[in-house]
C-alpha cells in the first residue's frame, strides 16, 4: 500500500437532471486523505456528497474534474457495502456469497471456506440456505457486510453500515470493524450515528454542500467540544 489508502483531490461532480438537463453540482472540490490502517468516518448531513464521493472512488461515477487515488492495486483489494443494499432475492445467502467469491476468481475450496467463515462472522449460519427475500433488513445488512469482505480486502468502504441493525447487530458490526482495524485494514465509512463514529474512528471528515469543511483526528475534535455531536453541529451549522 502506498502512503495514503485513499487520496481525493479537488473532486468535482456535476450531474444533469430533468428534461432540460439542468446542471447540479454535487461535489464542489472535495479533498481528503485516508491513511493506511485508519478507521475513517465520513460525516455530513443528507445531500452533503458522502455517497457520491465513495461512488467516484469506486468508479461507479466519473469525476467531472479532480482525482481519486486508491492506495491498493485495483478493485480486487477493495470491499464495498452500498447504502440500503438490495441483493438477488432468488439466491440464498450462501449462494450469494459464493457468487461474489466467484467474481474474485476464488477456487471452489477457498470459496467454500471463506463463505462459511463469513456466515459465521456475521451470525447468519442458520439462515445461510434461506432465500434473501426472506431476510430481514438487519440480515440483509449483515450479508452485505459479508459480501464486502469476501475478498479479504485491504480497503473497506461501508456506506451506512449500521442502518437497520438492532443493538446486537450493531455491536457485531462494530466488532467486525475493530477486527479489521486490528488486522491492519483501512476502513472508510459513512454514518449518521455519531456515537459509533466516536467509538470506532481514528480520523473523520465532515462534509457540507459538496465540500469537506473539517478533517482531522477524532481526538482533535474532542478537544474543541464536549461531545462529537456538539462538534459536528458546530461545524455543519457555521
Amino acid at each position: 500500500m502506498s502512503e495514503a489508502a485513499v487520496r481525493v483531490s479537488g473532486l468535482h461532480k456535476t450531474v444533469h437532471v430533468g428534461f432540460r438537463r439542468r446542471p447540479v453540482e454535487i461535489l464542489k472540490g472535495v479533498d481528503l486523505t485516508v491513511g493506511p490502517n485508519d478507521v475513517y468516518g465520513l460525516l455530513g448531513p443528507n445531500g452533503a456528497g458522502k455517497t457520491t464521493t465513495v461512488k467516484v472512488a469506486l468508479g461507479l461515477m466519473r469525476p467531472t474534474s479532480g482525482s481519486v487515488e486508491l492506495g491498493v492495486n485495483g478493485l480486487s483489494h477493495v470491499g464495498y457495502l452500498p447504502e440500503n443494499p438490495y441483493f438477488y432475492d432468488y439466491l440464498s445467502g450462501r449462494e450469494f456469497l459464493g457468487f461474489c467469491a466467484r467474481l474474485f476468481s476464488m477456487d471452489t475450496a477457498a470459496r467454500r471456506r471463506r463463505v462459511d467463515e463469513l456466515l459465521r462472522d456475521v451470525s447468519l449460519e442458520k439462515a445461510a440456505d434461506a432465500h434473501l427475500r426472506k431476510y430481514s433488513k438487519g440480515m440483509l445488512q449483515r450479508i452485505g457486510i459479508a459480501q464486502a469482505l469476501i475478498n479479504d480486502p485491504q480497503l473497506v468502504l461501508l456506506d451506512e453500515p449500521m442502518t437497520g441493525l438492532d443493538p446486537v447487530g450493531r455491536v457485531e458490526v462494530k466488532r467486525i470493524i475493530e477486527k479489521l482495524h486490528e488486522r491492519g485494514k483501512t476502513v472508510l465509512f459513512n454514518s449518521h450515528i455519531l456515537s459509533d463514529v466516536h467509538e470506532l474512528c481514528t480520523r473523520i471528515a465532515i462534509m457540507r454542500d459538496g465540500i469537506v469543511v473539517w478533517e482531522g483526528a477524532v481526538a482533535e475534535a474532542m478537544q474543541e467540544a464536549a461531545t462529537l455531536e456538539d462538534f459536528f453541529m458546530r461545524v455543519v451549522t457555521t
Binding site: 461507479l60 443494499p85 432468488y90 439466491l91 461474489c100 467474481l103
Partner: protein
Amino acid sequence: MNQVVAIAVNTFKETIRDRVLAVIVVFALLMIVGGIWLGSISLGQQGRMMQDFGLVAVTAFGLIVAVFVAAGLVHKEVEKRTVFVLFSKPVSRAAFITGKFIGLCGTMGLVLAGMGGFLFLLVWLVAGDLSGMILVAVLMIYVQLLAIIAVTIFFSTLGSAILASVLGICVFVAGQLSHNVLSLTRLGHNAVTGGLSWIVYVIIPNFSAVDVKAGVVGESTLAWSQIGLWTAYLLAYVVVVLALATLVFRRKEF
C-alpha cells in the same frame, strides 16, 4: 472469464427460478397440445398441421421469453442497484453484458429444448411422423432468438425495459420480412430510398434467408451449407450487437 461464467450462472438461476417463465412454458405446451385438435380437423394432414402449429407456438412463446426477460436483465440490476455490488468488484461492463447474454441463452436453450422435445414426441405419438427436422427447426428458432436477446439487451442499455421489449419484437418482425426490404433496394429508382432500404436491410437481422418451417413441412428443401452460413451470420450479428451494448453501457454512471 471467471466473472463472465459467474454472471452467466447467476443469470441462469435468476431466470429459471422466475415463476412467470414456468407459466409461459405451460401455456406453450398447452398450445402445442392444441395442435392435435387442429390436426384432427384437417384432411389427412394431421402430422403437418401439428408440426406447423407447434413450431409457431415454440417461436411465439420463445419470443415472449426472449424479449421480456432480456429487457429486464440489465434494467433490473440498475433499478434495484445490484450493479453497485457488481461494479465495485473487478467486473468489467463487457463481462457483465456477456454474462447476462450467456445466462439467458442457457435458459432459452432449456426452454426451447423442452418445447421442441415435447412437440417432437407429440407428433410421433399422435401422427406417427418421426421427423428430426422438427428438432433442426427448433435449433434454428433458437439461433434467431439469440439475435433477438442480444438486440433487446442492447435496447435496454439505451432506454426503459418496456421500450426495449417493444423494439425487440419490432426487430423480430422486421427480420422475418427482411427479404422484402431487399426487394425495395432493387426496385427503387430513387437513390435515397434505395440507400435507406439497404441500410435497414443491413441493420436488421435477416431471418428470412432460410425458411425453416417450410423446410420442415416439406414445402422446400433445406441445404445444410445454407443453414451453416446463416447460423454463422446470426452469431456474428450477435457479437456485433453485444459489442455495441457494451460501448453504450460503459458510459453509464450509477
